[in-house]
Symmetry: D2
Subunit: 483 residues, 4 copies
């Protein structure tokens, strides 16, 4: 489809409600040479949080510059002239992931707008739970929407706020939205960071040794550009970064941490440190707990790469069963490889994973993976492992059963499609074709994160995808739209 | 520039004020099979009104479909699948021309927006003279602008109007804008056409024999799809077209015709009939009047193709001097051919025109062109004709001297760059290197259009580019911005 | 289809035999600054000879540079960096036209090859009549073909020639091929031009006032870069251009002129001068002869633009009937506009031409066109003219009836599809729906070219498409392949 | 650079000599449904052997079909229509890697040519050592070269061979070339596979359970399409595959195995089985031998991912030191990410690898990698590991020191740039900044491959990059060109 093709448009609230939930990464730089290039590198380090589009807005004390595109950071910013045209010492950037083909260029963040008080660029990681409700009210008021992103709701709220300063307007907007949001924003003078009152999504503050500040979704983005970790932005905290340093505001009445536990299990990069915990160590420790809880007699422990590797290592160490790379991941898999016939479609998961027969043949295998969603991928992997000669396959999962969808920024199918929501453990084991199946317990999970167990951790994490305990009101979903 | 690259952004009113004036063509179809394809064909016939971008929005009783792109209509809609995806029996389309490289995709019309009352698509030919003033006020009110087009001002006024129906909102918006505008708009039920109270830009109504209606900037767009001409939309008239036929509204207090005389001289296609006059006949008749007013002894009458052809034919017939195609136009000239060196740049106009030496050598030549703007092109053509052996060159121009810029939708440079604004007739003749120079008189011009002369035509046309008599207030230009 | 997609390949001789005949333009420059840019401009002036692909090879005394692409010259060479990368003071270029979608990049000329004696680039306008026969012999000998062009046959013959110098090898090759060929070739030291012994296709020599030489298919290519016309290369002449000037060789035993008369009628640009005759004057004079031979009572003379314009002017002058632009050509027609439905397909020719109703309504019309091939286009134009209100339509054609295909470089359908090959004059008139139809006589045609009539011109032109008298043996066609 | 841009051309033998050495993967399918799709999947599994271009030629009993492109297999064949257009039950394919930007489309394999006896497509993995010498002779003879690949030398030798059948011609050609070559070729009836007399590069035979045969560089390509491993093609063996099954020819006098030992160490995929050995097991066993030979007191064993992982695992098991993923690889690194400033360039290797601080901080680290080439990458990784807090870094390399370039198909820099060629072990340790450095011994390496040590393996592998003992004559390099 040529430049500018928008397949269809439709203003119905239904579509907005059913849009794919976004997973994202954000970066902000203030006061550093090559701010746009640094931002691009940070986005590159956060590529695992969103691979379908990327954008950067920079400012050079005179004007804003912008570049956005569909694809990986390395593709969108592959031309040195593009980076060179993004002048200035401050910049914000965004990676975007969406589950359908509907990724339109107009949805790519950061969003930029001219206001009475000047320009403002905004990028955001997370999901608003009252976006559709607010959008309906804003449209009623005469606001014109150009995208289907939550971020534009934010921007309109800023535009129509009666407060005078951009800061007060941003706070005004933040108080009206509900949901998970880690926001970075850029004005002609300031870099602003904001985390929702529960701090569901991460946001990290870093500093350059030669001066200048950095905000990013994960510490791995600081590492790639050599920025030093300062601290995590606190839940409900707003930071204003400029020549005077970092000013902290706490505009919310009752912030308290409910950090997303799934960031530890799967979503964050293993070399990141979130809320003081090493993601890698957390995953390894879950493997240790899993081995204690659900040990089994076997010949090899095999991870489903890459996310299952640390847990499998922990399981192997704790169980004494040898660790083997029994499954090889093909790192050249793009999203574009079209499988043209039924015969080939059946080859399925083998595009991404292949069995390492010598490590599996004639072995009793403990297979360690991070989660079971629909179960179809698990089934294919189990079949592949058996076809390579495994005599037994015991699946161990480093998360509790995923029974509920996420509304806070992780892409998950609806409840009816989650295997654990509709099957007992035994039925699940049968569905994926394993000899035994076990998930980490809540106690084990939270012990691995340094608590004494589930009770102690209670109310300190968002684990709604496992428990259904949603800490932020699901306004749009609960039909308050029509109210 | 890669997908999605917006070189720079800047919200300053200055830039908005200095934006290139747009020349455009619009088409609307209601109740016809293949509405989008018909619209594309109509835009193709109107390609001379704008070559840099094209767009179509269609509706199929359920939803809107949109496709836009930079380039000619035939390029933007070259793929049958693109046209096929624009479903429905109603559609509107737009051709756009802009004089600088700043043609951004987000500026391409029609503009579409979701309103509380449903979707609306709007396209517009002309120029608002208070667009910057209104824009400033709208931004102050919290409106977010995505483009730099006048059309978006219109759309925001519709969005914030307190009237209930889309029709009342559209009229409300129309009453607030000043300028030249021929608008086509599409709602889920209606095709709407609107001409400003002076009817500066054309808008024509046509009908399909098998049912269905068409609006277009010129009759040549009706001809290409076999639609029958019904009538010109009247100045200040708004038509609502749907299953009940064509309903006419006259929302303005004091409409009266001030049709753009330059449409006859240059801008419209010769086979179009505007306000009851054949453009081709008008141009030929101007040539006749020119010969009467400014006859000269010569051997050949040579047009500067293509726009000078009919006037040169009229001149030849009236003067008895043979008509010759002494200049050949190269029809393959694209806009993209970059001339890399000074030497080649000096070859200049020869990219588009070449001298037909046998028709010029040793001849006294009457050269007929439609207008002199900066004079640089005229100079190059005269030099080329002399280099081909013409012994005398007498330039005859089928318009009065262009002394003032147009603010109503024709791209012209500012006054200081108009040769006629700063030179006497003798100085102009010298500047372009001719033996004699004459422009059509106002009396001659209006006689050619069927009036008894200038007096009778007075106040019935907009001829501001020749007279400086601007019939519509130049709000933005006159600095009312700061008021 | 992505870069490098070759839909299918097939080595059969049948396909090679049935390949589309090519129409082409060639340019060569020696000893001029900006040689590649000058070549691009020359190709631009020759764009009417081939619009589907363009290529340039240059040499800077050290190495060769090459750029080729599909599309118009202005598109292929739109980037100043591309022209800039084609360094050197000598260059050759080629425009290519092919009638089917099979234009592959590997077929785009000039062809370049490394030989034992160094590099050589070759481009050619025309058609070899023993290309398939030679190709078969070369393949048998172990030659590998990369393209389906005649030019590659030439290049292989040069490669395997036993002569020592490139010049002798080129002559050796030329003596083995049969057909129409105007060749330009570039070696590290020389620009070479060669015209076949009958000189069927044109080739012109020009000179730059500041030094340097130019070869081109037509004089219009000299004009655009300001080169002075020196002379036409003679039939069978080979010129070697380098620092010593222009050396002329006559390697063929019996050269004599059989210049293609269709170049005058249709193919060449009107402002070109070929073999001493102005194309424009020739066409006008044909119109004069037509009026004398086939005068008719009528109200207007209307050309089918653009090629019919000069003849119609001549007809009008000779007959005293007013000349009118009753048909307008839309110059924005690209090749890519896909007509998606039957309804729209029926609108047919109107994409390119539209009727100018005021010049046709109620008139008896003499319609002047250059030729009738299949008759379908003529029929559509006649219908359009009648629909615009013409009361009578008299078609006058500025060529004799086209009864035979061309094998020498003009694209024509096979005999069975030529209307004149299968219909009497009366049947043709009925088929295209005119009140009367007349073609120029051979006597009239050759009188218009300055001869006393057909007899005097006999054997001085190739008019095989009208007479079937093919002056060059049709080796491939006549089945000598199997011999 | 647009379609068809070939930056420069130059026929000098020097350039041909200095062309980048190619690493490649090949696939062939005979008698299987969806042969092209299967070939694409096989190439996808072999993507690690070449990432810059891919091509497939298929045959459907009537004609050949071809598609080639620059980029990954998944990009070149991303469009289902492209695969769909490659009809037939037989196909061959090729992945290509080249170290410079000079990857031209015309160099992409398979090469196809029309011969007297019909069409033939050829693809080849390896490097000829007398390609330039042969090429010079062929050009002298009148052969035209279109590419700079060794494969085209092969194809020309086939074209000019005096033998009658394609098979005899192929053998004739094979006897004239020297070097490492695993060739797959496709005729209208047969799939042909050929391995050079020393079998330096791998070539595997597989079978589909539902009928049909497959050739591939590695067994992992069989696995992805579910083909069963039959056997390795033998050194010097030529197989002809058609409806009669697999016919084996042994055209060479003295074949004997000298398989490339570097395929085990680095180049092949770990899940492949080559010459009966599991690559994964071989690598793990090298790690075991390394630990035995060069044990060191440390806290963690850390692989440089991905190729260092199995050896590090073996080292960890044998040494009892815990295995940790102390370095994380970013799998989204494309080749296109341009690092725009010096500051960013210095960040270097961090684009691809990042330190996992919690696994390194305060630890004595054994770092396991597959080889040291220039040493620059090693230095950056060591620095990164130290910056993450490692107190000691001990580097262990799973190959002997790389002291000589490969001329048989593995891309290596010239000798002067190989760190081991110019430095002692102590100097190397200092250059890369480690506390200790050890390479596997030859005895250890060959023990890991199942031999009793170096002596037993002597003459059974090509280990020229470590020993300088080149088993195939380096004709071009040794200046026999001028003879």
């Amino acid at each position: 489809m040529p430049l500018g093709a928008f397949p269809t448009m439709n203003g119905s609230v239904d579509e907005v409600l059913n849009r794919p939930y976004e997973e994202c990464g954000v970066v902000g730089i203030w006061g550093a040479a090559d701010a746009a290039a640094m931002t691009a590198l940070g986005l590159h380090a956060l590529q695992h949080r969103g691979q379908e589009a990327a954008g950067i807005v920079s400012h050079d004390d005179e004007r804003f510059y912008q570049h956005k595109g569909l694809g990986l950071v390395g593709d969108v910013f592959s031309d040195a002239r593009v980076i060179g045209a993004l002048k200035g010492h401050s910049a914000i950037g965004h990676n975007r992931y969406a589950t359908t083909g509907a990724t339109l260029l107009r949805n790519v963040q950061p969003l930029y707008a001219d206001f009475e008080f000047g320009g403002l660029a905004v990028a955001h990681n997370g999901n608003l739970t009252n976006a559709a409700t607010l959008r309906q009210a804003l449209v009623k008021r005469g606001c014109l929407f150009q995208s289907t992103t939550d971020t534009e709701v934010f921007v309109h709220l800023i535009a129509i706020s009666l407060y005078a300063t951009v800061l007060d307007r941003l706070i005004d907007a933040a108080k009206q939205v509900k949901g998970a949001y880690s926001v970075v924003a850029l004005t002609p003078t300031d870099l602003i960071g904001l985390r929702d009152p529960l701090g569901v999504r991460p946001l990290i503050l870093g500093r350059f040794s030669e001066g200048g500040w950095m905000l990013a979704s994960e510490t791995c983005a600081l590492d790639i550009v050599g920025a030093e970790y300062v601290r995590d932005i606190e839940p409900g905290e707003l930071v204003v970064i400029n020549g005077d340093g970092v000013r902290s505001l706490k505009p919310f009445a009752d912030p308290h941490p409910r950090f997303c536990v799934f960031e530890y299990i799967y979503f964050a990069r293993p070399d990141s440190i979130l809320e003081g915990h090493s993601v890698y160590e957390a995953r390894k420790q879950i493997g240790v707990e899993l081995a204690r809880e659900s040990g089994v007699e076997a010949d090899v422990v095999v991870p489903v790469p890459d996310s299952g590797v640390p847990s499998a290592m922990g399981f192997a160490v704790a169980s004494g069963i040898p660790f083997e790379m029994g499954i090889i991941r093909n790192h050249y898999v793009g999203r574009t490889f079209i499988e043209p016939t039924d015969q080939i479609r059946n080859l399925g998961v083998r595009m991404k994973h292949s069995a390492n027969r010598p490590a599996l043949e004639g072995k009793r295998v403990v297979l360690v993976d991070d989660s079971i969603v629909r179960g179809t991928t698990s089934r294919k992997i189990v079949d592949m492992v058996r076809a390579a000669g495994a005599t037994e396959v015991h699946m161990r999962i480093s998360s509790p059963p995923t029974k509920h969808p996420c509304f806070y920024g992780i892409d998950t199918p609806e409840e009816s499609q989650l295997l654990a929501a509709t099957h007992t453990l035994e039925q699940m084991a049968e569905a994926i074709g394993v000899d035994s199946l076990a998930f980490i317990s809540f106690d084990g999970l939270y012990r691995a994160l340094g608590h004494r167990g589930r009770e102690e951790a209670n109310g300190r994490y968002c684990d709604a995808c496992f428990t259904g305990d949603y800490p932020i009101e699901l306004v749009d979903k609960e039909g308050k739209l029509v109210a």
